[in-house]
């Protein structure tokens, strides 16, 4: 399950998608590359990777973090709460 928040959600045009990446997608960076190729909206949303943050099963992940068995992958902009 992919979850999108804030302007990532708006740019992709969905708040969630159920997707199964191929086995070649091993890390967070791989996943973002694979997602960006899905549609022009995905490509636009993920164009600036410095503005993208990812959480795997609700824990922050880095570009080189393996996706592993994560069930919930969330993609969102840097946090602006508080």
């Amino acid at each position: 399950m992919m979850l999108y928040f804030a302007w990532v959600r708006e740019a992709i045009g969905a708040d969630q998608e159920t997707l199964t990446p191929p086995p070649t997608v091993e890390t967070v960076a791989d996943l973002l590359d694979w997602l960006a190729a899905r549609s022009p909206n995905h490509a636009a949303a993920l164009a600036d990777r410095t503005a993208i943050r990812v959480a795997l099963d609700q824990d922050f992940a880095q570009a080189d973090t393996p996706i592993g068995t994560a069930q919930e992958v969330a993609i969102f902009p840097p946090i602006t709460g508080g």
Binding site: F5, A6, W7, Q58, A74, F76, P77, T80, G81, G82
Partner: protein, 145 residues
């Protein structure tokens, strides 16, 4: 420590009073309230969050603070949804035996919350609606702990 994420307003007075009610070991209560400012004609702020992860991150940050300082009682409340200028967004209040611990734990919680709690703000105003960009100073503030 008590952690809450809610759309409803909160009662700062009642939250602070609860921290020291019926006990005599609290020497210091430090609190922080964040409010919506009407900067540049802002008319509303909508806070989106990631239900589940928010509570999880706030609980983790609270546990960190409790491991590091002598916290006798504490409350963290973060609102989500649409708020207008003057509305309170967030409350962090810490009761401790001593003043330095209360101040530091409160300040630590706010700094971490700014960089680890998955909230995003969209501002309404003369410009329409726009997403707030993260500040590098928030990351720096969290790094100092």
């Amino acid at each position: 420590m008590q952690v809450r994420v809610q759309p409803e307003p909160f009662d700062t007075a009642a939250e602070l009073a609860a921290l020291s009610a019926n006990r005599s070991d609290v020497g210091a209560i430090a609190s922080f309230t964040g409010l919506v400012r009407a900067d540049d004609g802002l008319t509303a702020l909508t806070l989106e969050h990631y239900p589940g992860m928010t509570e999880r991150q706030l609980a983790a940050i609270a546990a960190k603070a409790e491991a590091r300082w002598p916290v006798l009682a504490g409350t963290v409340i973060h609102r989500h949804g649409r708020l207008v200028p003057g509305d309170a967004i967030v409350l962090v209040a810490i009761a401790s035996p001593h003043r330095a611990a209360a101040f530091e734990a409160c300040s630590f919680l706010m700094d971490w919350l700014k960089t680890k709690a998955p909230f995003w703000k969209a501002e309404e105003g003369p410009w329409g609606t726009r997403w707030v960009r993260a500040k590098a100073t928030d990351d720096q503030a969290a790094q100092r702990w």
